[in-house]
């Protein structure tokens, strides 16, 4: 019953908004804002299996590749920087500079040496979403409790085990927060990189529809992007909750204790 209530309150507003859009747009004669009824028909017609294979699959693969590479670099470098004060002092200003560059501006530059293929798009995604992962990892590693570190040292938990059994798990809640931010950035950059120069992908498809005045199809692409982002973040949250169930429990206990 509780679960039904939760689901009910989660979908109530989306359903309301959708219904409102549907009713209000029903009589619309505007070419650029067609009735939702028309958009939904276009949705069903447009996103057929072969189109999903041709446009959605490549987009998702680039997204996934970019996100994973960014996670590897971000966590790897973040641990090194977090553990080493000297490295931190040297790297921090440089990192702040690179972080301040809006990633889309790099698309034309990266195109010059990486071409317009998948490589360019993956690089753009990596460049954009490595920062929240990196910075959160640095903070998470620096925040590892001194008693935890003392305990590990006193019991001979050193070397690789110190990293995998102590430092990474301890920093994992913050690393997960960085990954979550990075995921939404990755989706944005996936679309942007495909809009610039591409021969397939969701961003490419939306721009293509707009240029050929297939307006309902364009709207359907935007809805698909929204749904995709929602589904990805849902999957991420479920994975996070499973992996960090100890952290949830710990926090709940601390809240109860006041």
């Amino acid at each position: 019953m509780d679960v039904l209530k939760k689901i009910g309150s989660a979908v109530a507003l989306p359903v309301l908004l959708f219904a409102g859009w549907f009713l209000l747009s029903d009589g619309s004669a505007s070419f650029y804002a067609p009735p939702l009824r028309q958009i939904l028909t276009a949705f069903a017609d447009t996103w057929q299996p072969e189109r999903l294979r041709a446009d959605v699959a490549p987009s998702l693969l680039r997204l996934l590749a970019g996100f994973l590479v960014a996670a590897l670099i971000g966590v790897g470098l973040g641990v090194a920087v977090g553990l080493n004060r000297r490295l931190r002092a040297v790297l921090e200003p440089v990192l702040e500079f690179f972080r301040a560059i809006p990633p889309p501006v790099l698309v034309p530059v990266i195109m010059l040496f990486a071409g317009i293929g998948d490589g360019m798009k993956v690089i753009v995604i990596v460049f954009g979403c490595v920062w929240p992962i990196l910075l959160n990892t640095v903070e998470g590693v620096r925040a590892v409790d001194s008693v935890v570190l003392d305990t590990a040292r006193a019991y001979g938990v050193t070397g690789p085990a110190r990293l995998t059994r102590v430092i990474l798990p301890s920093a994992s809640p913050q690393i997960a927060a960085g990954l979550r931010q990075a995921l939404s950035i990755a989706i944005i950059l996936m679309v942007i990189s495909e809009m610039f120069a591409s021969s397939n992908g969701l961003g490419f498809a939306v721009v293509q529809f707009q240029r050929s005045f297939a307006i309902p199809e364009m709207w359907s692409g935007i809805i698909l992007l929204g749904l995709l982002g929602f589904a990805l973040s849902l999957v991420f949250r479920l994975a996070e909750r499973w992996a960090l169930r100890w952290y949830e429990g710990l926090r709940a206990t601390r809240r109860r204790a006041g």
Binding site: D145, V147, V148, D150, T151, R153, A154, Y155, G156, V157, T158, A161, R165, V166, P169, S170, S172, W246, Y247, G249, L250, T253, R254
Partner: protein, 258 residues
């Protein structure tokens, strides 16, 4: 044998120097249970960190079995005061106790046996799969003691382990430490600010002065080996000994204030 010779520790930060330990010399014979007691803020934790190899002294040395300590020695286990921070919240009780054994490359079946025996000895065989934060404070400290026991140390250091648990739990844990010490024939150095606890537990009590710390006095607790919370504490000899320790601590405080 644990030997502390001319131990001195000066902390310096920002040009200011704080002498925490001035000149500490004492020994703990193999199989002995020595309690270190001193006024609050007398550098007990600094001393224990030096003895456990977590902190390098400014001068003087600590020897275990004749060998000078330069880092955490393998045959030494530490029970920290902050049990909530010293147990790893991302591991269940069994994994917490087992991790140091994995690092020592103890084989799987032997590990299992050591963990089971240790948890049994502290009365927690039923809680192996619980997470530390699901347990009460006293139970968490029992897990920390089990981790130390499973490690099969020659020397066991305890840093005010019961300062944060309630009085009844504390009495139970004191008896647990006594019985484990008798059974395992391990050398125990127990740091506390509680005079009664020091006399009740120890076979010898070393009294420390206020910071900068020196050894104020030492006494042998000539109470029967079988101790009992009710009868021992009511024993006239116990009262006499605790009075002597109390006087010395007061003396130390006055010397510091004057």
């Amino acid at each position: 044998m644990l030997e502390v010779k001319g131990l001195r520790k000066v902390y310096s930060s920002g040009g200011r120097e704080v002498e925490a330990l001035r000149d500490l010399t004492f020994t703990v014979d193999n199989g002995d249970l020595v309690c270190l007691v001193g006024p609050s803020g007398c550098g007990k934790t600094t001393l224990l960190r030096c003895v456990s190899g977590l902190l390098m002294p400014t001068s003087g040395e600590v020897r275990v079995g004749g060998r000078p300590i330069t880092g955490p020695p393998p045959g030494m286990a530490v029970v920290f005061q902050e049990y909530g921070r010293s147990l790893f919240p991302w591991m269940n009780v069994r994994d917490n106790v087992e991790l140091p054994l994995k690092q020592k490359k103890v084989d799987r079946s032997r590990r299992r046996q050591l963990v089971d025996t240790a948890l049994d000895a502290v009365g927690l065989s039923g809680a192996a799969s619980a997470y530390p934060w699901q347990l009460s404070g006293g139970m968490q400290q029992r897990v920390a003691i089990a981790r130390a026991v499973a490690y099969e140390p020659e020397t066991l250091l305890m840093d005010e382990p019961f300062a944060a648990v309630d009085a009844q739990t504390r009495a139970d844990l004191e008896d647990l430490v006594r019985s484990l010490w008798q059974r395992l024939e391990v050398t125990v150095l127990f740091v506390t600010h509680d005079i009664d606890e020091a006399v009740y537990l120890g076979r010898r009590v070393v009294m420390l002065s206020s910071s900068p710390t020196v050894v104020q006095d030492e006494l042998v607790v000539d109470l029967p080996a079988e101790r009992d919370q009710l009868r021992t504490r009511a024993d006239p000899r116990f009262v006499e000994l605790r009075t002597r320790v109390y006087e010395q601590i007061q003396l130390a405080k006055r010397a510091a204030a004057g």
